[in-house]
Amino acid sequence: MKRVIVGFLATASLMLLFTEESYGIPAFSRKYRTSCSTCHYAAPMLNAFGKAFKNNGYRYPAGTDPEMTKEEPVSLGSEAYKKVWPNAIWPSDIPGTSPVSVWAVGRINYAAMSTVKWEFEIPHEVEILYAGTMGEEFSFFGEVEIENEANATEIAFPFALQYDMSPGLHVRMGMVHADPTPNHLKLTRNHYNMASFRSRNGWRFRDEHVGLEVWGAGNGSGERGGFTYRLGVVNGQGLSDMNRDKDYYAKATYKIGGLGEVGGTEGAGSDVSDFFLDDNVTLGAFVYSGTASKTGVLDENFSIVGGDVDFWYKRFILNGAIMLMDSRITGTPQRKSMVYYAQANAVLYPWLIGLIRYEWEDQNTDLDAVKPVNAVIPGITLMARANVKLMFEFKKFFDEDSKKKDTFGIQVNFGF
C-alpha cells in the first residue's frame, strides 16, 4: 500500500493551473432556496438574470437581497455600529451556513490521433467552490480546483475579493476578468479558440490573470439592456509576475433590449417567458496590452484589440468574437494574428440545447506559409437535472495540418 501511495505521489506532479471563473455555485441555490436555472441558461452559462445577479455583486437586484435570502446570515456587528465608526469595526455579516459547493466533471474522450483512442477520464476534475457576500459591500468568489492532466494532478486555487460600492462600481482583487470572451456563453467543453490562442511567449487569455480590476454595469433607458465596463491591471503571467511590466486591459459592452444589466422588472411585461429567453443584442469591444516572458528568449510586447456580438432571439443565440494581436519581439519580425469564432445555440427543450461553433485562427496574417487552423464544433448539451449536465461534442478540423486531430467527447458535470 505504501508503495502505491509513494508511486502515486511520485507520478502526481502538483502544478499550478489557472482557470476561468465560470461555474455554477450551488451554495447560492441553498442561500436563496432557488433552482440553478434561476441564474443559468445551462450551468455554467448564465442567463440574463444570472448576469444581473453577478453585476449586483452576487446579490439580488434593487437592494432586495436581504428579503430574498432564505438563510439567515450571521451578524459580525449590528447595523447601529455604523454610527460608532471609526471607534468600532464597520459591521458586516457572513453566510449563515458554509458557502461551499462541489462541482465534479468526468469525461469520455475519443481522439483520432492518439495511441489510446478511447479513454474514461472520470474524474477529469473536482472543484470546491466558495462564493457569497459579506455584509452590504463585500463579496467573494473562489475555488480549489483539482484536475487530471495526462495522469498528472494539477491544482489551482484562485479567488477574488470584491468591494461592491454599487452595481456601477466594483473593485475586484485577485482573479479578475481579463479574458474578453464572454464566458457566460461557454456552453461547450472545448474552450474558445480566442481564449486558448497563445502569444509567441506562451501568454493566453485562458490563463487566469491576477490583479486589480474596476468594473461595473448599469441599465439602459427604460431599465432595459444597458452597459458594462471593466478596466484592469494584472501580472499577465503567474501568481508571481514573470516580468516587471504589468498588463492592462479594458472591455466595454452595450446591451440593446432585454433584461437590464443590473436587473429590475420595469417595462419587462411579455406574453412569453422562460429562464433562457431574453431578446437582445449586445455589442462589445476590448483591448489588452501586455508583456510575455519565456525563459531563454527576449520579452514579447503585444497588444490586442477585438470585439464581440451577442444576439438572443427567442430560443436562438448567435454570437461571435474577433481579436487581432500584434506581437513584437526585438530582433524578430512583427507578428500579426487574427482569431475569431461564431456560434449558434438553439434551445430545443429547456433541457436540450443544440449548438454549433466555427473557429478560425491565423497565427501570422502576413505569412502564407503558416496555414490558418479552422474547425467546426457541433454539440448537444443535455440537462438531466438542473445540476446534472451531459455534453456530447465533436471537433472537426478543416485545415490540412490539423485534419487528423478530430476529437469527440462526452462530459458529465454535476454540482451540489
Partner: protein, 196 residues
Amino acid sequence: MTRGAVISIIVLIATSSAIAGDIRGKVKARGWKHSGDAVVHIDKIQGKTFPAPAKHAAMDQKNLVFIPHILPVLAGTTVDYQNSDDVLHNVFSPDKCAEKFNLGTWPKGQTRSYLFKEAGCFPVMLCNVHPEMEAYIVVLDNPYFAVSAKDGSYEITNVPAGKYTLKIWHERLKSQSVEVQVPETGDVVVDFEIRR
C-alpha cells in the same frame, strides 16, 4: 332600502344561521412534513348551484414563493396573480382543466388574471423562471371549504344543516371522503388521517 326589505334580510340571516352548523376537526398527514395545506370541502351538493363571486381571489409571488401555497376557490372565480418581487415571474399551468394557461411575465406591482371555470379541477401553478415555485388552485362547486393550518386544524363554518359527503384533498397524499351530518346548530367534528 325599505324597512320591509331590511327586516326580511335580518330574518333570513337569523334563520340561516339558526339552521347552519360548523364542521371542524384535525388533519393528520402521514408521510408529509406538516399537516397543513389540506383542503377539506363538501362534495357537490345535488340540485344546488352557487353563483361565482364577483370578488377576485389573489395569489402573490413574493420572495420566490407563491402565497398562498394552496388556494381553494369557487368555480367561476378569477384569480389575480401579483408579482411582488423585483425579478421577473411567470405563472402557467400544465393541467388541461385549466387550459394549460400561460400568463407570460409582468413587472413588479402588476397583476395578470385567469378565470377558473371548471369545478373538480386542481391545477398546479408553476413559474417557468423559478422552477422551485409551486402552488395549487383547488376549484370547487360550493363555498363550503377550509384549508388546514400547519397543526392540522380546520373549520368550515355556517354550513346548512344536512347530510353531505365531506372530502379532503392534498397535493401529494391520497384523497378521502366521509359522510357527515351537519346539525342545525353547533358543530360536528371530523378528523382525517391521510397518507400516500
